[in-house]
Symmetry: C2
Subunit: 225 residues, 2 copies
């Protein structure tokens, strides 16, 4: 590879990051959006949080920094999605953006309140700013894929959860109904979750047993669904 020292004229593009953050509440999938108001091209449309990468940080650093600064989210599960480099993806400037997927627990969605950012149920999605429509489609496809062969579901649930809640994560994202008995058999056979010994409280029906994932980190699995 004959790489020259990058001359000034080649450092033309701004590098950015954007994050598609998913959360489930009330059996509905939501994404975190901010209002974008950059007329004439992008006037009052939702867009995903993000921002430029700085000289002293990696893309991962940048996405964490922007999420903390702009929408007050930190410590969430993030993974790289895809890099978007179409010339006109931001019609104002040439910006190449590294897209990320994030997942948060239901409490984060419920308790969240910050400025111009809000949780949009995916059923109400219309048109995003920039190329964020494409980014959303890729993020959702990736989330669906990963759900089936990894433990990514753990980041969409509280630390302790019922088996029904776990099942609902799959049903909501994959848009299918699953058989309760078969789902439990399969999940328990995988040996990835454990009973905590505690029970649900404050429900007006029979309280469910609470479970937790054995590992805090994402694992690969044989296909679940």
């Amino acid at each position: 590879m004959t790489m020259k020292k990058a001359p000034e004229e080649l450092r033309f593009a701004a590098m950015a990051v954007d994050a598609v953050i998913f959360g489930i509440v009330d059996k509905k999938l939501h994404v975190l959006v901010q209002n974008v108001n950059r007329p004439p091209h992008y006037a009052n449309m939702p867009g995903f949080p993000g921002g430029l990468i700085e000289k002293t940080e990696t893309a991962e650093d940048a996405v964490e920094r922007h999420l903390t600064d702009k929408v007050h989210l930190s410590g969430i599960h993030l993974e790289q999605l895809y890099t978007f480099s179409d010339i006109d993806r931001d019609r104002r400037n040439r910006v190449i953006s590294v897209g990320y997927i994030g997942c948060v627990t239901p409490e984060v969605v419920t308790q969240y309140s910050f400025d111009d950012a809000h949780w949009l149920p995916v059923s109400k999605i219309k048109k995003f700013a920039y190329d964020h429509d494409e980014m959303y489609q890729m993020a959702l496809a990736r989330l669906r894929g990963k759900l089936s062969y990894t433990t990514i579901a753990q980041f969409l649930l509280s630390k302790e959860f019922t088996l029904t809640q776990l099942q609902e994560v799959y049903e909501v994202i994959l848009k299918t109904e699953l058989d309760k008995r078969n789902f439990r058999k399969k999940i328990l056979a995988l040996d990835i979750i454990k009973e905590t010994g505690r029970m649900q409280e404050g429900v007006k029906n029979r309280p469910a047993a609470l479970y937790a994932f054995k590992s805090k980190s994402i694992k690969e699995l044989p296909p679940i669904v």
Copy 2:
């Protein structure tokens, strides 16, 4: 998202692409490498072909251009792998690189001859320049994953191939032995390949029937292996 017009100081990084190109010949997986000689950090080590992204092109455009110009490969299957943004990944400059995976047919590997580029059997890999060790590991993991649930194998075979050759693609990359009868049953049941009616020629044993993929484009499948 409050994105400012990117000031000069934010356009610090050079954007590059690199490609990990795989090919199988003689039941061995190979990757295409070029010699990198950039002392003191990278002295006579193999590295993957690539180069900078220019103002007027996307990352996809750039990787195609560099492969054509530098190693005389064009029209091959390429897909985006991951974006590498570690501050010191190129110890000479800050360069963020979009990594790609590529696949070529056995003829390309066999007939190939160009300057300082050559096909390295993966069993002989030692140390790559830059962060290309990490890039290689991710590329191989991705190739293994995709092999099982897509038709990516088609890009590692000639247009017409025998069922044994197809099986060998799986065996070489997944490092497993597969049962011939079961493999054939499974592949044929997927309805992704068709008999061409032609037979192998010039072999000193019983000639095998030649098959071709029904579609030229990559498809998703239920898991094969």
